[in-house]
Symmetry: C2
Subunit: 97 residues, 2 copies
Protein backbone atom coordinates (compact mmCIF):
# COMPACT_ATOMS: atom_id res chain seq x y z
CA UNK A 1 0.00 0.00 0.00
CA UNK A 2 2.76 2.44 0.94
CA UNK A 3 5.98 1.09 -0.51
CA UNK A 4 7.87 4.05 -1.90
CA UNK A 5 11.40 4.97 -0.85
CA UNK A 6 11.89 1.67 0.91
CA UNK A 7 10.12 3.02 3.99
CA UNK A 8 7.77 0.12 4.12
CA UNK A 9 6.70 0.68 7.67
CA UNK A 10 5.54 4.23 6.91
CA UNK A 11 1.91 5.07 6.15
CA UNK A 12 1.49 8.54 4.67
CA UNK A 13 -1.97 10.01 5.24
CA UNK A 14 -3.75 11.96 2.51
CA UNK A 15 -7.03 12.21 0.65
CA UNK A 16 -7.82 8.52 0.08
CA UNK A 17 -10.73 6.92 1.94
CA UNK A 18 -10.12 6.62 5.68
CA UNK A 19 -10.27 2.83 5.65
CA UNK A 20 -7.41 2.61 3.14
CA UNK A 21 -5.09 3.99 5.79
CA UNK A 22 -6.51 1.79 8.52
CA UNK A 23 -5.94 -1.22 6.27
CA UNK A 24 -2.40 -0.01 5.61
CA UNK A 25 -1.60 0.22 9.32
CA UNK A 26 -3.33 -3.05 10.19
CA UNK A 27 -1.47 -4.95 7.45
CA UNK A 28 1.86 -3.68 8.72
CA UNK A 29 1.23 -5.16 12.14
CA UNK A 30 -0.44 -8.35 10.91
CA UNK A 31 0.69 -9.77 7.54
CA UNK A 32 4.02 -7.90 7.65
CA UNK A 33 4.55 -8.53 11.34
CA UNK A 34 6.16 -5.16 12.07
CA UNK A 35 6.91 -4.00 15.60
CA UNK A 36 6.49 -0.35 14.68
CA UNK A 37 4.60 1.69 12.12
CA UNK A 38 5.16 5.38 11.48
CA UNK A 39 2.10 7.37 10.44
CA UNK A 40 3.00 10.64 8.72
CA UNK A 41 0.94 13.57 7.49
CA UNK A 42 1.27 17.20 6.47
CA UNK A 43 -0.99 20.25 6.70
CA UNK A 44 -4.70 19.58 6.98
CA UNK A 45 -4.16 15.80 6.97
CA UNK A 46 -2.53 15.93 10.41
CA UNK A 47 -5.91 15.63 12.18
CA UNK A 48 -6.66 12.57 10.10
CA UNK A 49 -3.35 10.96 10.96
CA UNK A 50 -4.31 11.18 14.64
CA UNK A 51 -7.74 9.69 13.83
CA UNK A 52 -6.11 6.78 11.96
CA UNK A 53 -3.67 6.03 14.78
CA UNK A 54 -6.37 6.20 17.43
CA UNK A 55 -8.82 4.03 15.50
CA UNK A 56 -6.09 1.48 14.76
CA UNK A 57 -4.90 1.39 18.36
CA UNK A 58 -8.24 1.38 20.18
CA UNK A 59 -10.47 -0.44 17.72
CA UNK A 60 -8.97 -2.39 14.82
CA UNK A 61 -5.83 -3.61 16.59
CA UNK A 62 -7.15 -3.42 20.14
CA UNK A 63 -5.93 -6.93 21.01
CA UNK A 64 -2.33 -5.98 20.23
CA UNK A 65 -2.21 -3.31 22.96
CA UNK A 66 -0.22 -0.96 20.78
CA UNK A 67 1.07 2.25 22.26
CA UNK A 68 2.12 5.61 20.90
CA UNK A 69 5.87 5.50 21.19
CA UNK A 70 6.69 8.92 19.83
CA UNK A 71 5.05 11.98 18.29
CA UNK A 72 7.13 14.49 16.35
CA UNK A 73 5.79 17.74 14.99
CA UNK A 74 7.68 20.02 12.66
CA UNK A 75 7.22 22.44 9.79
CA UNK A 76 9.01 23.36 6.58
CA UNK A 77 8.86 26.29 4.22
CA UNK A 78 7.39 25.40 0.87
CA UNK A 79 6.68 27.31 -2.30
CA UNK A 80 3.18 27.39 -3.77
CA UNK A 81 2.49 27.11 -7.49
CA UNK A 82 2.38 30.91 -7.77
CA UNK A 83 5.74 31.31 -6.04
CA UNK A 84 4.54 32.30 -2.57
CA UNK A 85 6.37 30.87 0.41
CA UNK A 86 4.36 29.26 3.17
CA UNK A 87 5.03 27.04 6.14
CA UNK A 88 3.55 23.58 6.11
CA UNK A 89 3.30 21.65 9.37
CA UNK A 90 3.91 17.93 9.67
CA UNK A 91 3.47 15.12 12.15
CA UNK A 92 5.10 11.70 12.58
CA UNK A 93 3.44 9.30 14.97
CA UNK A 94 5.22 6.08 15.88
CA UNK A 95 2.82 3.35 16.85
CA UNK A 96 4.33 0.19 18.26
CA UNK A 97 4.20 -2.89 20.39
Amino acid sequence: MEKKEGNENVVFIGSKPFMNYITGVVMQFTTKNRDEVIVKARGKWISRAVDVVEAARKKFLKDKNLRIKNVLIDSAEMETDDGKKMNVSSIEITLGK
Copy 2:
Protein backbone atom coordinates in the same frame (compact mmCIF):
# COMPACT_ATOMS: atom_id res chain seq x y z
CA MET B 1 -7.71 34.97 26.49
CA GLU B 2 -7.99 31.40 27.79
CA LYS B 3 -8.73 31.60 31.46
CA LYS B 4 -11.34 28.97 32.22
CA GLU B 5 -10.82 26.21 34.78
CA GLY B 6 -7.78 27.89 36.22
CA ASN B 7 -5.65 26.42 33.43
CA GLU B 8 -4.18 29.73 32.54
CA ASN B 9 -1.26 28.31 30.59
CA VAL B 10 -3.54 26.34 28.27
CA VAL B 11 -4.56 27.63 24.83
CA PHE B 12 -7.45 25.68 23.33
CA ILE B 13 -7.58 25.86 19.53
CA GLY B 14 -10.89 26.24 17.70
CA SER B 15 -12.63 28.28 15.05
CA LYS B 16 -11.45 31.79 15.96
CA PRO B 17 -9.04 33.62 13.65
CA PHE B 18 -5.57 32.06 13.58
CA MET B 19 -3.89 35.15 14.99
CA ASN B 20 -6.03 35.04 18.13
CA TYR B 21 -4.32 31.82 19.11
CA ILE B 22 -0.88 33.09 18.20
CA THR B 23 -1.54 36.14 20.39
CA GLY B 24 -2.71 33.83 23.18
CA VAL B 25 0.50 31.78 23.06
CA VAL B 26 2.76 34.81 22.69
CA MET B 27 1.16 36.59 25.67
CA GLN B 28 1.68 33.55 27.87
CA PHE B 29 5.42 33.62 27.23
CA THR B 30 5.77 37.42 27.29
CA THR B 31 3.41 39.39 29.56
CA LYS B 32 2.61 36.36 31.73
CA ASN B 33 6.19 35.11 31.72
CA ARG B 34 5.29 31.40 31.64
CA ASP B 35 7.92 28.71 31.13
CA GLU B 36 5.45 26.38 29.45
CA VAL B 37 2.27 26.67 27.44
CA ILE B 38 0.03 23.74 26.53
CA VAL B 39 -1.78 23.98 23.20
CA LYS B 40 -4.80 21.69 23.02
CA ALA B 41 -7.20 20.79 20.22
CA ARG B 42 -9.75 18.20 19.24
CA GLY B 43 -10.94 16.71 15.95
CA LYS B 44 -10.36 18.80 12.84
CA TRP B 45 -8.65 21.54 14.87
CA ILE B 46 -5.65 19.31 15.58
CA SER B 47 -3.90 20.36 12.35
CA ARG B 48 -4.36 23.96 13.34
CA ALA B 49 -2.89 23.39 16.79
CA VAL B 50 0.29 22.16 15.12
CA ASP B 51 0.28 25.22 12.83
CA VAL B 52 -0.09 27.55 15.84
CA VAL B 53 2.74 25.88 17.75
CA GLU B 54 5.05 25.89 14.74
CA ALA B 55 4.32 29.53 13.85
CA ALA B 56 4.82 30.60 17.47
CA ARG B 57 8.04 28.66 17.85
CA LYS B 58 9.71 29.44 14.52
CA LYS B 59 8.37 32.91 13.77
CA PHE B 60 6.64 34.95 16.46
CA LEU B 61 8.75 33.77 19.41
CA LYS B 62 11.84 32.79 17.46
CA ASP B 63 14.19 34.67 19.81
CA LYS B 64 13.04 32.60 22.78
CA ASN B 65 14.26 29.30 21.27
CA LEU B 66 11.23 27.42 22.52
CA ARG B 67 11.09 23.69 22.07
CA ILE B 68 8.35 21.10 21.89
CA LYS B 69 8.62 19.36 25.23
CA ASN B 70 5.85 16.84 24.82
CA VAL B 71 3.11 15.79 22.40
CA LEU B 72 0.21 13.66 23.61
CA ILE B 73 -2.45 12.23 21.37
CA ASP B 74 -5.59 10.52 22.58
CA SER B 75 -9.25 9.99 21.75
CA ALA B 76 -12.54 9.77 23.61
CA GLU B 77 -15.97 8.46 22.76
CA MET B 78 -18.55 11.22 22.47
CA GLU B 79 -22.22 11.31 21.68
CA THR B 80 -23.52 13.41 18.80
CA ASP B 81 -26.71 15.48 19.01
CA ASP B 82 -28.68 12.64 17.44
CA GLY B 83 -27.36 10.09 19.93
CA LYS B 84 -24.71 8.41 17.80
CA LYS B 85 -21.42 7.53 19.43
CA MET B 86 -18.21 8.57 17.75
CA ASN B 87 -14.56 8.82 18.66
CA VAL B 88 -13.01 12.26 18.75
CA SER B 89 -9.22 12.56 18.65
CA SER B 90 -7.27 15.11 20.66
CA ILE B 91 -3.77 16.53 20.92
CA GLU B 92 -1.87 18.32 23.68
CA ILE B 93 1.37 20.00 22.72
CA THR B 94 3.62 21.37 25.45
CA LEU B 95 5.75 24.23 24.22
CA GLY B 96 8.41 25.48 26.61
CA LYS B 97 11.71 27.13 27.33
